[in-house]
Structure formats: C-alpha cells, structure tokens
C-alpha cells in the first residue's frame, strides 16, 4: 500500500521537476525530455505495460513515444507541464501498440499474480474491467504515474473537472461493490 504522507522538513529542497519545466515558454529541449524520461520512466512503463498488456510491448511504446516527442518538441507550447504533454504522446503510442484483438478492450486487466486464496479480495479486477476505457486510463495515470488531475486532464485531452468527476465516480463504484461484498 502506498500513501501520500507528508514530506519531512528539509528534504527535496529543489523545486519539483514539473514546476521547473512548466516555466519554459515554447519548445522543449532534449535535456528537458531526457530528464522527464529518466525521472518518470518507471511510471511511463507501468502505464504503457498496463495498456498494451505486456511489459515488452509497453517498453517499445515508451521508446517510440519519446522518439516522437523529440521529433515534435518544437510544437510544445509551454501552456502546461511538459510531462503532461509527453504523457499524451505515451498514452497514444501505447494504445496504438496494443495487440489487434485488444483494440476494443484496451487496458485489459490481467489475472492477478498474487498467491492468495482470494486473488481479488476487493473486487478490483472486476471493477477495473467494468470501467470505460477513459476512466481506466485515468486510474492508471493517477496511480501508476502519480499525476495530478490537471496533468491527467492534459494527457487525456479533457477538462480537469471531468477527471475529478470521473475518478470520483470510479471510486464510488468500487466503494459500492466493497459494501455489497461486505453485506453478502
């Protein structure tokens, strides 16, 4: 389990990468993109792997996406975090890289790898499977990439209020299924 606990005083004095990068006006330098790539690689790969259904395919999509971002870097207008702009490219690359049979079932949920007696004690698999594609992508971006709502909205090209409402609705659905499971 993980939680956003408070940051101890005196730790990480430098401004967050996102804040530093958002200061740029137009275009993105190679250094910026490399910095986003290296610092966020694990998150990019987890989301891409979840979308494509396997890690190797996800890794390929991330490489393609960053190559594409380098080619298009002068098109970054600086009206939002560079990271969010890159995320949009990564999400699109991952969606394009998924196997053909998965195209109508993007971000398919794999069987649980846990060795518990109950592989899905909270019904999270069922919940994820039932979510519409965009909501599932928003969940992945929120939990794998730890993106804030504004960055998720940019990555998925929707309003931030929509992301807030989308994730709230998704959480409510899970909460109801938990309560139902508890009552039965």
């Amino acid at each position: 389990m993980a939680h956003a606990g408070p940051r101890p005083n005196g730790v990480n004095k430098a401004p967050p990468l996102r804040d530093r990068i958002v200061m740029r006006v137009t275009g993105a330098s190679l250094d910026d993109l490399e910095s986003v790539y290296r610092q966020g690689y694990c998150g990019f790969l987890r989301v891409a792997s979840a979308v494509t259904g396997e890690e190797a395919r996800g890794a390929d999509a991330v490489q393609d996406a960053f190559a594409r971002a380098i080619e298009q870097r002068t098109g970054f207008r600086g009206d939002g975090p560079l990271e969010a702009w890159v995320w949009r490219i990564v999400v699109n690359a991952a969606r394009a890289a998924r196997p053909r049979h998965q195209e109508t079932d993007v971000t398919a949920v794999p069987a649980s790898g846990a060795a518990d007696d109950d592989p899905d004690p909270y019904g999270v698999d069922t919940w994820l499977t039932a979510l519409p594609e965009r909501e599932r992508l928003a969940v992945f971006l929120r939990y794998f990439a730890d993106l804030d709502y504004r960055s998720i909205a940019t990555a998925l090209d929707v309003e931030v209020g929509t992301i807030s409402a989308t994730l709230h609705a998704a959480h409510e659905a899970l909460r109801r299924s938990l309560e139902e499971a508890q009552q039965t």
Binding site: G5, P6, S49, I70, A93, A96, D157, E159, V160, G161
Partner: protein
C-alpha cells in the same frame, strides 16, 4: 488519501508489479526519425479527443456570449430587470482571482476524547484560489485544523473543483438555472444548478445554494441527477468567497512522497516478554477487554519506505496483538515510531486525518470495521475491530504489559 484510494493503489501494485526494464535513452535517440508514419496517432487518439473540438466550439460560443453580455452590461445592465442568476454572477465580483474557503465534515472520521468518550467529527477545510484567466487552481486541504496537502497534487474534491471551474462559466453561459428554494440556518436561499461535464451514463450536477438577499453562495453540493444507490452527496458550507485583481497568497503544503510499508513476523511472544522484545514499554488492554479474549502476541519487523525508492527505510520492531470475540478479531499494532503498515503516514497524519494528542483517538470507519489510532506512552497504536465501542474500550484500557 482515502481508504478507497489506498485499496486501489495496493491492488494495482499487486497486479502490475514494478517493471524490470531499465531506461534506455540512447535507444530512444536511435529511433528518432525512424518511426513509421504515425498510424498510431491517426488511429489511436482517444475517443474523447473530440472534446478539443467541442472545447473550441464551446470557447467560441462562450466568447460570443461573453461579448454579448459585456455589451449588454455597458449599454443597459440586465435590461433594467436582472435575473437571479445574473445577480448571483454579479455577486461574485469581476476580479480575476476568486478566493474561497469551504468547510465540511470528513465522512466516517471522528476524534474521541478517551476520558469522557465524547466524539466530535473530523472537519474539513478547503481554501482555494481560482485564476479565471488561466483556469489554474491553488488549494489547501486541511483536516481538523491541520493543513494536510494541496489537492491539486492529490485528489481534488469534485464538489469544489466543479464549483471552481464551472460556476462562473455556467452563470455566464446560461447552463445555470434556479431549480428551487429552501433555507440554510433560517436564511432563505435559491438553488442554482448546473451540470458537470462527464462522458458517462450518470449525469452529475452541482447545486449552489445562494442567499436570496445577498446573492452570495452559502452551500455547494455535488450529486447525481438521479439517486445512485450508495452514492454520497458531497456538501460544503461556503465560509467566504471574494474576487480581486491582485493574486492572493496561499501557503500551499509541499507535495508529499508516496509511502509503502511492510510488517513481517519475527516470532510469537508471551505478554511478559513484550517490553524487552520491543525495546520500549509495551501496552495491552489485559487478558480480556469488553468480552474479547487475548489470543496471541507477535513481534514484527516493520519498515516504512518512500515508494519506488532505494534503499528501503530502516526496519524497526513492532507488536501485533490478536484478541477474539465470537468469530471476530480485534487487532492491536504498536511501534515506537509511526509506521505505514500500521496505518500511520507520519507522527502527524494517519488514515482518516491528523493524529490527535495523547488522551484522544482518531476513529475512522473503514469498509471492514473501525480503526482507532492514538499516541500513548511513546507508542503509535492502531486498533482494528468491527465494533466501534470495542475499539474505544480497547483504547481506554491500554496499560503496560506485565
């Protein structure tokens, strides 16, 4: 982070383990200019990317409406007879920065004074500044008077976000409508309703209860258009709302690292060995507490680390005590430092809110029962059980082990 978010994160971590691939920037550079024409991007844009076009159309429409409204205002404001919605819009003021404070109650959270058993709710306070020009929001979320985090770095409340980003716009573009009247603390209000954009089967709405005399919002609430079983209506009192052309300052807490934690059994103990094994005076509620009987005590190795960081945090010793009442468990976990796997995020924060001072317990209603968290005798203690009264009785009965 809510309990639901904690469950989702934990389960997703289990299903999608941290990848093993290493970053390969050189490999990226080698692909530049060699990727085939982006079939991917032609075919793979999300269905909702159409929203960009919708937004453009909406922006144009809004601009026309705004221009029309501005012209009307200059020539003859409200044509001599302003509607309630127009007056509500005027009451917000015309400043670029909207500064608002909301107050509410944390669902399922209480702080209990152990001596008296008296409980009070965990209160929420959300303060935000909305820049109407850029659409950016700064906010601070506090629980029981303690600033916890900026929700823009966490999970913005949909009621507040919907209000921040939608109310002024809805008042201006005609989607806000008066749908009824009621009263708030004896004050007459009209209910202004506007929709929250959501591509789904559920229609979501924001209601703003606006004073009929001052036209200022007093309460906001966020809900589905039709009743949804189990769904809560989020309600906040509007403490204050003002606008100005000077950017107000807000002390936004720094973003917080994500934590992870483990608790591993070392060995089983007798209660009289607990203090020596823990290296600190251990606490327990005795052989029995309110009908629950002591079953076993385990010494554990407990670790709290920053997620995805290396090396992991230093491990410490903790205790887990199991009691049984009927076929249900009462579990007590304690350590000399706040431990993530015992439900603490720091010495100040735990699941459900801030850790109260000694003599009080933070009581949180989880999906599988109740959790009491407290500080006593230099220990950070978590009690989990299905019975609220048993959780409180256990917290009150804690005393040094023999």
């Amino acid at each position: 982070m809510t309990e639901i978010e904690t469950i989702v994160r934990s389960e997703l971590d289990r299903r999608y383990p941290t990848p093993t691939q290493e970053p390969d920037w050189e490999g990226v550079l080698q692909r530049v200019g060699k990727i085939e024409e982006p079939i991917a991007e032609r075919r793979a844009h999300l269905p909702m990317s159409r929203s960009g076009r919708r937004r453009t159309a909406f922006a144009l429409a809004a601009a026309v409406l705004a221009a029309t409204a501005a012209t009307l205002t200059l020539v003859a404001p409200w044509n001599g007879s302003p509607s309630f919605v127009e007056q509500a819009r005027a009451a917000l003021g015309g400043g670029r920065y909207v500064h608002a404070v909301f107050a509410g109650i944390q669902h399922g959270g209480e702080i209990v004074t152990l001596a008296s058993g008296r409980a009070r709710p965990v209160t929420q306070r959300i303060e935000w500044i909305y820049d109407t020009k850029t659409g950016t929001i700064q906010d601070v979320f506090s629980l029981s008077g303690v600033a916890m985090f900026s929700e823009q770095n966490g999970a913005p409340d949909p009621a507040v976000t919907g209000f921040a980003t939608g109310y002024q716009k809805a008042l201006a573009n005609g989607t806000a409508r008066v749908v009824g009247e009621t009263s708030v603390n004896g004050q007459k209000v009209k209910i202004i309703r506007f929709p929250i954009p959501l591509n789904g089967t559920i229609s979501l709405y924001e209601d703003v209860l606006v004073a009929t005399d001052s036209h200022r919002p007093l309460v906001i609430r966020y809900h589905a258009a039709a009743p949804v079983r189990g769904a809560r209506t989020l309600t906040y009192r509007v403490v204050s709302i003002d606008s100005s052309n000077t950017a107000p300052t807000l002390a936004v807490p720094r973003p917080q690292p994500l934590l992870t934690g483990t608790a591993t059994d070392i060995r089983q103990l007798n209660p009289n060995e607990a203090t020596a094994a823990l290296g600190h005076t251990a606490l327990w509620p005795g052989q029995t507490v309110s009908g629950a009987t002591f079953k076993k005590l385990r010494l554990q190795r407990v670790t709290t680390s920053v997620l995805h960081s290396y090396p992991p945090g230093k491990s410490v010793r903790g205790l887990r005590l199991d009691y049984q009442t009927g076929n249900r468990l009462l579990v007590i976990q304690e350590a000399a430092t706040p431990q993530y796997s015992y439900g603490f995020f720091s010495a100040q924060t735990a699941i459900g809110g801030p850790v109260p001072p000694a003599g009080e317990a933070l009581l949180t209603h989880l999906h599988n029962g109740w959790q009491a968290q407290l500080r006593k005798g230099g220990l950070f203690i978590t009690i989990r059980t299905r019975d609220r009264n048993l959780a409180i009785a256990t917290a009150r009965a804690l005393a040094p082990t023999p």
